[in-house]
């Protein structure tokens, strides 16, 4: 056992901080192409891109690096992970060599971004099958039909990885932005992550060539893997969000005075910060253990990731709320870092595998253990 972060584990995070900047940046937006591209480029110049598409790598390094993006800006972290990390992983794990050459390479080089479209209205992929579906259209093509709402980076993506059902099981369809029949809906406004672009896809009888299809596959492994990558991404964002709120509230509490004393000297404030610090450290350790476990064959691996997802994301929500409380009125005004994080935090418990479904999955794992 070793509870210290090793130098090697620090290295990637250091690279990331050098490339993207380390200090928290409230209000940062990457919701236009002009703003997104420089960040993608900067990211591509670190070894992060090469690392995440490997079959085996040090998960803790990646978790720490992703966390540092979120300390700077949760929107930045989510935007980059939705536009680059997650589609890259999907392609690296499941696509043919030709597809990788054509689509993965530009992602890793920071010249393009993508979006992954899975979720649909009225269903949760943990429970049902997708309503977006594809049927064979002649020898080497498919016809794709369906609607996807809530797709991060849809307004900016150069191409989409769309999950759909076929008669032979689920498959991924690679749609370029200008594919005939693909309509990209304007972005809904969201409560949080306002620095990221979000939109919907309406897919009207899109013809997709066979060589742009990954699958179909008789199992749902790629969907399960996707959920794990999303969870890992959300956990790292939660950690970063906790840290940026905590350091902001802590320094405020040391400087801001009430009754002639810094407010941290009042137990009501000082003890809150102590609790937040405890949550922070506990969340970090659990997240690191869960990501470490992904590289082992322990039968607890999935349950651990679920525990980290629930704990870290709920801790982020609580932290953001308590830190805002500590800041008082200064936390409630628009466009400050803690208020922004407070709005962002709610998403973390909903997205990926939601807290509710995660708990059910943890319980299923526990029920199998004894």
């Amino acid at each position: 056992m070793n509870y210290a972060i090793t130098e090697a584990q620090q290295a990637l995070r250091q690279e990331m901080e050098n490339a993207l900047g380390a200090s928290p940046a409230p209000g940062l937006s990457i919701s236009s192409r002009e703003k997104l591209l420089p960040s993608l480029k900067a990211l591509a110049e670190t070894s992060y891109a090469k690392t995440i598409v490997k079959e085996k790598y040090d998960r803790i390094s990646v978790m720490l690096a992703q966390k540092s993006m979120a300390v700077k800006s949760p929107s930045l972290a989510l935007g980059l992970m939705a536009g680059m990390t997650i589609p890259s992983r999907l392609l690296a794990a499941y696509a043919s060599e030709e597809l990788k050459k054509k689509y993965l390479s530009p992602l890793l080089e920071g010249c393009a971004s993508a979006a992954v479209a899975v979720s649909e209205a009225g269903m949760n992929i943990e429970n049902g099958s997708l309503t977006t579906s594809a049927t064979v259209a002649g020898e080497d093509a498919w016809t794709l039909q369906g609607t996807k709402n809530y797709v991060w980076n849809a307004p900016l993506a150069d191409f989409f990885l769309v999950a759909a059902e076929t008669e032979q099981g689920p498959a991924w369809f690679l749609l370029e932005r200008d594919t005939a029949g693909l309509e990209i809906g304007s972005a809904d406004e969201t409560l949080g992550f306002q620095g990221c672009a979000m939109g919907s896809l309406t897919i009207n009888n899109c013809q997709v060539d066979n060589d742009l299809v990954i699958g179909p596959c008789s199992n749902r492994n790629s969907l399960t893997a996707l959920r794990k990558w999303q969870n890992e991404a959300l956990i790292s964002i939660a950690l970063g969000l906790i840290e940026r709120c905590y350091i902001t509230a802590l320094s405020y509490a040391k400087q801001h005075k009430s009754g002639g004393r810094p407010i941290i000297s009042y137990q009501e404030i000082g003890f809150k910060l102590a609790e937040i610090m405890t949550l922070d450290q506990t969340a970090q350790l659990l997240a690191m253990k869960a990501s470490w476990a992904q590289e082992t064959n322990s039968r607890d691996t999935d349950a651990l990731l679920g525990c980290a997802k629930v704990f870290c994301c709920e801790a982020a929500e609580k932290t953001a709320s308590e830190c805002l409380q500590i800041m008082g009125g200064a936390g409630y005004v628009k466009d400050n870092l803690v208020a922004e994080s407070f709005q962002d935090a709610k998403y973390l418990t909903i997205a990926g595998v939601s807290s509710e479904i995660s708990r059910m999955m943890i319980a299923d794992a526990v029920l199998e253990m004894y």
Partner: protein, 380 residues
């Protein structure tokens, strides 16, 4: 960071669980009902090598590292041994024997440690007083030096193992004007004239460990019973309470694993509305809460032990985080374990009732949660 445990540690934990499930846990129910210290089980822990695990072999121990030692506590909890016995073990080994080991003279170590490690002697540690709890530096028991002796006067309360201890480690003021720098630590043996113990308190949980008062009435002890330097007692006590905030917490994490196991078995077999209650989401939610707590708590507790293994003798922040987390976050999932068992959860036989009572002390003993927050907030 690396979370792998060695094969040796894995096997050792398994063996401890098996030993405790067979030899000790079956007696817990009976002794808890009678609120009686199970001295035979205590001695068995000694025979098995647990009481002196981290002491060197020449002093009757096994030379284990701290992490392995803390894992033993976790394993005992996981086996379903009651909290009282494990509190007695904790106070004996970590609050009493360890202080002699770290600060004692060679003679003190040779005289007491082998017998404490085997369980032939039982130890206790007296810091808390009726009017000095959280504010422990305000303790009033005094020790006056007279020639080759110290004379102790005062009283202690809430002392684990009070009435069964053969060796008491007592913190007293050698200089009443000096506050914390006037505190020193002494060994007082059972039977010393002027030293007596009160009747154990009747308490909510941890019922198989005795908690009570100690009285010192012109109690004369040899000067060589001073442990460490005069005036160094407070810093020794801080080091000691760190064990409260690591090793003594490990069984509580183990209890949660035990509660999960019992709850799973119960939920699968108990049927309501025509199906096992394990199929209800509200039941699964509770199981998930228990598992999340257990996974989160294990890391913070083991980390404190690991820090000690790295040669850092005091780790205030890590220890306070572990204590605060286990103290405050353990209550709700323990409550879940009771609720999952319905009415049976409220009855002694199903063991959740006992765990519920035992765990309740977690945010009180060894420095309350408020005090942990106080410690942490001052360091921020």
């Amino acid at each position: 960071m690396d979370f792998s445990i060695t094969e040796e540690q894995r096997v050792f934990m398994k063996q401890v669980v098996r030993f405790a499930e067979k030899e000790i846990a079956p007696r817990s129910e009976e002794f808890d009902l009678r609120a009686e210290f199970d001295v035979a089980s205590f001695r068995k822990l000694g025979d098995y090598g647990i009481l002196g695990l981290h002491f060197p072999e020449e002093l009757g121990g096994s030379g284990a590292d701290i992490l392995t030692t803390v894992m033993a506590g976790y394993a005992l909890g996981k086996a379903g041994v009651d909290g009282g016995l494990l509190l007695s073990y904790g106070a004996h080994t970590f609050l009493c024997a360890d202080t002699i080991y770290v600060h004692g003279t060679t003679r003190q170590k040779q005289k007491y440690l082998p017998k404490l490690a085997s369980g032939e002697l039982i130890g206790c540690m007296g810091l808390t007083e009726p009017s000095a709890g959280s504010d422990v530096a305000s303790l009033k028991t005094k020790a006056e030096k007279k020639g080759n002796h110290y004379i102790l006067n005062g009283s202690k309360t809430f002392i684990t193992n009070s009435s069964v201890a053969d060796v008491a480690l007592i913190y007293a003021k050698t200089d009443k004007d000096k506050g914390r720098d006037g505190i020193s630590c002494f060994i007082v043996e059972k039977g010393t004239p002027g030293f007596s113990a009160g009747k154990p308190f009747n308490k909510l949980g941890m019922r198989t460990s005795y908690t009570g008062e100690l009285f010192f009435d012109d109690c004369v002890i040899p000067a060589e019973n001073l442990v460490g330097r005069e005036g160094a007692g407070f810093s020794m006590a801080l080091q000691t309470v760190e064990w409260d905030r690591s090793a003594l917490l490990a069984p509580l994490v183990g209890f949660m694993e035990f509660a999960i196991k019992k709850s799973v078995q119960y939920a699968k077999q108990r049927k309501q509305f025509g199906r096992p209650i394990a199929e209800f989401q509200a039941i699964k939610h509770k199981l998930a809460e228990m598992k999340i707590f257990k996974e989160a708590a294990e890391n913070v507790v083991f980390r404190t032990a690991w820090c000690k293994d790295q040669g850092k003798s005091v780790n205030f922040m890590e220890a306070a985080v572990a204590k605060l987390f286990v103290g405050d976050w353990s209550l709700s999932p323990t409550n879940d374990a009771v609720m999952l068992h319905g009415g049976y959860g409220y009855c002694h036989e199903y063991q959740m009732e006992r765990i519920f009572r035992d765990v309740r002390v977690a945010p009180i003993g060894g420095g309350t949660s408020d005090i942990q927050k106080h410690v942490i907030s001052r360091m921020l």
